[in-house]
Symmetry: C2
Subunit: 393 residues, 2 copies
């Protein structure tokens, strides 16, 4: 049967990641690989009470088929939350609920990408976004990511080259995989150039609320005075990923068309999950306390990790110092992460090799580490193991 | 922005259905349109207790990211349930959990369909399956659906013609939209022909458990001794649609590849929903009682509707007498359902016009009616209204 698969499958069915995660789940291995939020942070009692009340009082809605663009109460809650945050009016009709942010990636691919179209991405970019777009057999052009974001000069050159990009896909805040955040002037320049050249931007923002100290610069969507940006958000990092509730914000007409496409993808996202997220967003105290708890928790985690990395890797590697999110990105000159990864597994530590995050030519000397999940003692051991390996190689 | 959409969008963004449903939701209109299960049948107390226990005892799993192919406990429960039902071993590794059955339709499309490929479908077929496959820009060939199923002679002729079909998509049991069920000999002949000609079959079976009197003939998947059939199931009709839990059964290798594709679509389906469905399947008494309740309920509904239709439409229309499922299919010679639908809305009754269920040339004299949702008094009024309209036209 396998000869029967469509052409696109070759570009989607790379099992490197799956195999990597499988290896990492062997006993005795300390994993700095997966980007899972720490489950001890889930507001379990709030969820129990709310879910019980929703099922008791509203079973005809929360267990039944729902509207394709999402439950009205959730679309309204998100619109009101964003209007406040962005300082500009966002209507409920501009919000489309998706089954996690991943579905939004597949959805914009399906809506906008024909075979052999060009997509512009950061270098590196989010692996699972590339996999989603690969399903539409596209080609990529990349913009090198630097400490303050992309280089708007490089962007301008590309836009002037006459090549037609269906869209640019950017993660400007606490990027996965690098942890890099674009500064405000890069954001403004990028938006201005996009408007000038008619470039549509897909802004993916799963981590924006996970800042450690200060609020990050305004999102591209917040700065956008027109319809240049389609914004993707999620509750996977700020609430619970298992609910599979993400959302997309665009102009009303675009949302109407995307709704018809989503209908053919899964009819609608889970109703009970949506109703629960709406309650969470509306309960401002719970939301606020929860976000504070998450921020403090990750701030301590990252502080410890950065201190330890300084001790261990000072002269052998470089790495990013994220101001939020879940990841740091490490470059170890001289290693090849494809083989280095297997040595690390043998030494009892795992991470995500960096190469699958590159749309075109990979840099094999990179790795992604997360500080989100393991405790201090384990973190120390894991980094020591890595250090010994690096010294040997 | 709308000029920017991909080519496939033209074939997916037909808003006839959405507009139809919108019109039907106006006050005062009795709807025989939507295929929603009756929410009074949801086992609310079982769900409340189970969900509460799952969140309390297992929050780290049911609220967290889960494995892409589905929670192991649910894959195992479905495998064991099907092994018993089909009388042949089904392994958990052959089961892939999907976000409703609709996602499975999109998934097989993405996995197997390149642009301009041929797909073989019943005439008529399930509208939302056609929309999903349209996303892959395919062409359709159709097999006329008759009271006992398709005509295997017609199938053989098509297979001998040399045209290459990527797959056939069939709903052999209590079909949506017609309510037709294939008899056993059509099933066996179809399977034999498919094997002989190397035709892959996607069997969609959302209604098989919703029989009124006797168990329907074995599914194609149950009869399949090889890897000819990919089977799609769902808990939307046997439990609750709002949970968005469906599944797909295929050989292990195919499931492994489909898992990589699903990963790019939504990472995984909702964890809490999956854990809840696993408990439901494992609690054999609850499952059995619930299914009995559903069957008795719909049996009474369909009996009443058929009796009333006999009174009202005896000499002006013909319709199917379903042995299960949610729908009857009515043919009214002389009407054009595109205009007739709007007259019906004015008269205070709605249904699904039949024409969007045809892959190629529609029959405009058809409509789909459901007996699932309205009470006897309302059903009587709705059918009387329809009758008056038909007499006038």
């Amino acid at each position: 049967m396998s000869n029967n698969f469509a052409r696109r499958v070759r570009k989607m069915a790379d099992d490197t990641v799956v195999n990597t995660l499988k290896l990492a789940s062997q006993p005795g291995i300390i994993s700095l690989g997966g980007g899972l939020p720490n489950p001890d942070l889930f507001p379990v009692e709030f969820i129990r009470e709310t879910v019980d009340r929703l099922i008791k009082e509203n079973s005809h809605q929360v267990l039944q088929y729902g509207p394709t663009p999402g439950l009205p109460v959730l679309r309204a809650s998100i619109a009101s939350y964003l209007s406040q945050k962005w300082g500009r009016a966002v209507k409920p009709e501009q919000v489309l609920i998706t089954t996690g942010s991943q579905q939004a990636l597949d959805l914009v691919g399906k809506a906008f990408l024909d075979k052999s179209d060009w997509v512009l991405v950061e270098n590196p970019s989010y692996l699972a976004a590339l996999l989603a777009f690969n399903g539409y057999e596209v080609k990529y052009d990349t913009l090198q990511l630097k400490p303050g974001g992309i280089d708007s000069g490089e962007l301008e050159k590309k836009l002037r080259s006459g090549k037609k990009y269906q869209f640019a896909y950017f993660i400007p805040t606490f990027q996965n995989p690098t942890g890099v955040t674009w500064n405000e002037s890069v954001r403004r320049q990028t938006l201005a150039l996009a408007k000038q050249h008619g470039l549509m931007i897909i802004e993916d923002d799963p981590y924006g609320e996970l800042y450690f100290q200060s609020v990050p610069p305004a999102s591209l969507a917040a700065l956008d005075q027109g319809n240049t940006v389609i914004y993707l958000g999620t509750f996977s990092k700020t609430f619970c990923p298992g609910l599979r509730v993400g959302y997309l914000v665009a102009d009303e007409n675009t949302v109407a068309t995307l709704t018809l496409i989503k209908q053919a993808m899964d009819l609608h996202s889970p109703s009970l999950s949506q109703a629960l997220v709406a309650e969470y967003l509306q309960d401002q105290k719970t939301y606020h306390d929860q976000m504070e708890k998450i921020r403090v928790f990750y701030r301590e985690k990252v502080r410890f990790m950065m201190k330890e990395m300084e001790k261990q890797f000072k002269n052998v590697a470089s790495w990013t110092k994220p101001a939020g999110g879940l990841f740091t990105w490490m470059t170890v000159p001289g290693i090849d992460s494809r083989t280095f990864y297997h040595e690390a597994i043998k030494a009892g530590v795992s991470f995500m090799p960096g190469y699958p995050f590159y749309a075109n030519r990979p840099d094999y000397s990179t790795l992604r580490l997360t500080f989100a999940t393991v405790g201090e003692e384990q973190m120390k051991i894991a980094l020591e193991r890595l250090k010994r390996l690096i010294k040997r190689s």
